[in-house]
Amino acid sequence: MTPFDRRKFVATVAGAVPAASLAGNIRTQPLTSIFDRGLLLALGEVVLPSELGSHGVERVVTAFDRWLQAYRPGAERDHGYGTGKIEHLPEDPTEQWTAQLTALEEAARRQEMKAFTDTSLVARQRLVTEEIENLVSDERLPHPTAAPHVALGLLAYFYSTPEAADLCYRAVIGKETCRSLDQAPSKPKPLGGGGGR
């Protein structure tokens, strides 16, 4: 089964899962992975903050994989006030992102004489930087569906989650999640019982 046949299969199965369970739920295990899972995890260690810990990185990578499986390229994008324009989501990035993971693997073998997963974190950071340096034209993170590289897709995905914001502020904000209105006036509690920021 090619990665793309597998993607279609996975998407079909994923489509049977209520979409509500996908929202902000980054604990769900994927039925199977679109990508080489080891490669994606090794990439996650490079682009995600280390304070997530290995389990946290694995959880985010799993959620990213799952998120991509349920993506519907060409779906109609939300249209805002004041415009009659109807836009659609970009094409499926899976093929491009898979090729980019393969390119990272090839670069590692060429430059480090090792598999990407076996190279040091510093070496992987250098390899990823070389791949994406010219793709980042400004400081803004793209929407994950429009990311021109799998590393940027994973970054953009993570930094759009409530988990990332809570980590940044070291507080339980829980943006865009269902929370009691009564608690709105209170300062968000420190994350993980720590001292907050």
Binding site: H79, I173, K175, E176, A184
Partner: protein, 533 residues
């Protein structure tokens, strides 16, 4: 030619947006009358499927309202695409300020624009009724700025931790702010739960805490009070022979376009918003009424109105946690009245929490790529201060040729000319524009200084928000399309309701005012039918 399918009723309502829904609810409660509602679009996603649709919006930015518009019904000009049951109020943010008393009398008070043919006091009971029907949560502002006959039906949405700090900042600048009134449940109301800060009010509330018109339509249909026909496009209104009364509305069933549908009613209510109401009247031109229905004044489609905004993001030494209730804001009406030294300038003012300038980024100031820990470190360092978003909607008084016209070069899927919209400032607003925008910029600067902050960005949005007009109301048939109840001067059994009837667009969100006007129209519409005992 195929014989038309004929539907007979007492009241035929064309359009199913928020004004139509609450108007129909009032008539159903107070009068004995059969009502048929004709909607060009489709039914919307039911409440039980909204959590899933919202999830896809949050995760992918997918449109949470599939089939909420009709392909081929594109307008040249400002148009928010929404042709569906409930109309644009399926997407709305649920923000429901009242217009201020000055909005109704700008000509008398300030010598600009046009007075409305009714006063704030005339509309106060209908504002209240609209708030009670929708379930508006609000805080009473200073009575001299925020007059109202009765308290809000629901307690105000509480200020978040962020808004509490921004409130104190506003006070330090000498500006009284209060919780923005919103059609979002602060407590359980009308069978719907309280808000739980999902923060996607616009475009979609997943739990029904925000009022949307489909709730009203569902209840009316379940009780057998209205027949709601979807996917049915009304293309013209026709006069009765030898009379100025409207006899029928000719429509097209999108699923059987070859068979016309003809609606015969005692009363017709055009509730198509600021675009499709005037459009239908103009499309209804005939040998007897070559300018269109209800258009002896030549003003159908004229005086389109709205309000522009000046916005700024202000960096402040405050402990702001973006995302605590991001769509809720503070509001003040302090600037609804020109001061003694002012040339005419009126605007509202709001404050929101914001993450502007404090989002994660891929490069630092030196252009270095940020990955892993470096990115989180950079983000964390930049969030030690907070950002406030401020925005002022200012009054734009429309020109006569701020207008909707028929574009003969572009057609609907059924061959009718599409609308073209051109918003134009009236002479007074055009002359005052630079002064107005500079005064607001100066105000933002003063606010920033009061909080030891700095402006990160400031700009003007050319878009005229909350557009309205096109069938303006008035007492004189020579200078208006309908009276203050929406009854057209030319046809006693034809009403235009809500947004299109507004002579000016004020400087606050218009929806509550659209609905209040519609509820007042319901009184006049209902008079032709027996009262319920």
């Amino acid at each position: 030619m195929t014989r038309p399918r004929v539907v007979e009723t007492d009241i035929c309502i064309i359009g199913s947006g928020i004004t139509a829904a609450l108007l129909a609810e009032k008539i159903a409660k107070e009068r004995v009358a059969r009502m048929v509602v004709v909607e060009a679009g489709d039914h919307v996603v039911p409440l039980e499927r909204r959590p899933a649709r919202r999830a896809r919006f949050v995760q992918y930015e997918e449109n949470p309202w599939p089939s909420d518009h009709i392909d081929g019904m594109e307008v040249d000009g400002i148009q928010s695409r929404s042709m569906c049951v409930g109309g644009l109020a399926m997407h709305w943010g649920g923000v429901t300020p009242r217009f201020s008393p000055e909005d109704f009398r700008v000509e008398t008070l300030y010598g600009v624009g046009a007075d409305w043919p009714l006063t704030y006091d005339d509309l106060d009971p209908y504002f209240q009724e609209a708030e009670e029907r929708m379930g508006v949560a609000g805080a009473q502002g200073p009575p001299e700025l925020d007059p109202r006959g009765k308290p809000y039906p629901l307690p105000a949405l509480p200020l978040s931790y962020n808004l509490e700090q921004l409130y104190a900042w506003g006070a330090s600048a000498g500006i009284p702010f209060w919780s923005q009134p919103s059609a979002k449940n602060s407590i359980a109301y009308d069978g719907r739960p309280p808000c739980c800060r999902n923060d996607t009010c616009s475009p979609i509330c997943p739990i029904g805490a925000k009022y949307s018109p489909d709730f009203t339509w569902n209840a009316l249909r379940a009780a057998g009070k209205v027949d709601l026909l979807t996917r049915t496009v009304v293309r013209r209104l026709e006069l009765a022979a030898g009379s100025d009364r409207i006899e029928r509305a000719i429509a097209l069933d999108r699923d059987r376009p070859d068979q016309p549908v003809e609606f015969r009613a005692k009363t017709f209510v055009v509730a198509g918003g600021y675009v499709w109401s005037a459009h239908l009247l103009l499309l209804s031109a005939s040998d007897r009424v070559p300018q269109g229905i209800a258009n002896r004044s030549g003003l159908v489609g004229k005086y389109l109105n709205g309000h522009r905004s000046v916005s700024a993001y202000i960096d402040l030494p405050l402990d702001i946690y973006p995302g605590m209730n991001a769509q809720h804001s503070l509001v003040t009406k302090k600037f609804m009245r020109p001061g003694p030294l002012d040339r005419y300038i009126r605007h509202d003012l709001r404050i929101w929490e914001s993450s502007f300038g404090k989002q994660p980024r891929l490069r630092d100031e030196d252009g270095h790529l940020l990955l892993g820990d470096a990115m989180m470190r950079d983000w964390r360092a930049r969030t030690r201060r907070g950002t406030a978003r401020v925005r002022a909607y200012y009054d734009v008084l429309p020109a006569r040729n701020s207008e909707l016209t028929l574009d003969r070069t572009r057609r609907t899927p059924w061959g009718d000319p599409l609308p073209r919209l051109q918003f134009r400032d009236g002479e007074a607003s055009a002359a005052l524009r630079g002064h107005t925008e500079q005064r607001i910029r100066d105000l933002f600067g003063e606010m920033a200084r009061a909080g030891n902050g700095k402006i990160l960005w400031m700009g003007v949005n050319e878009f005229q928000d909350h557009p309205a007009g096109g069938c303006r109301m008035g007492s004189d048939p020579a200078t208006s399309v309908c009276d203050s109840y929406g009854r057209t001067h030319d046809h006693e059994n034809l009403f235009v309701v809500g947004a299109p009837t507004m002579p000016t667009g004020g400087c606050a969100n218009g929806t509550l005012t659209f609905v209040a006007l519609g509820l007042r129209s319901a009184i006049a519409i209902g008079e032709a039918f027996p009262a319920r005992e």
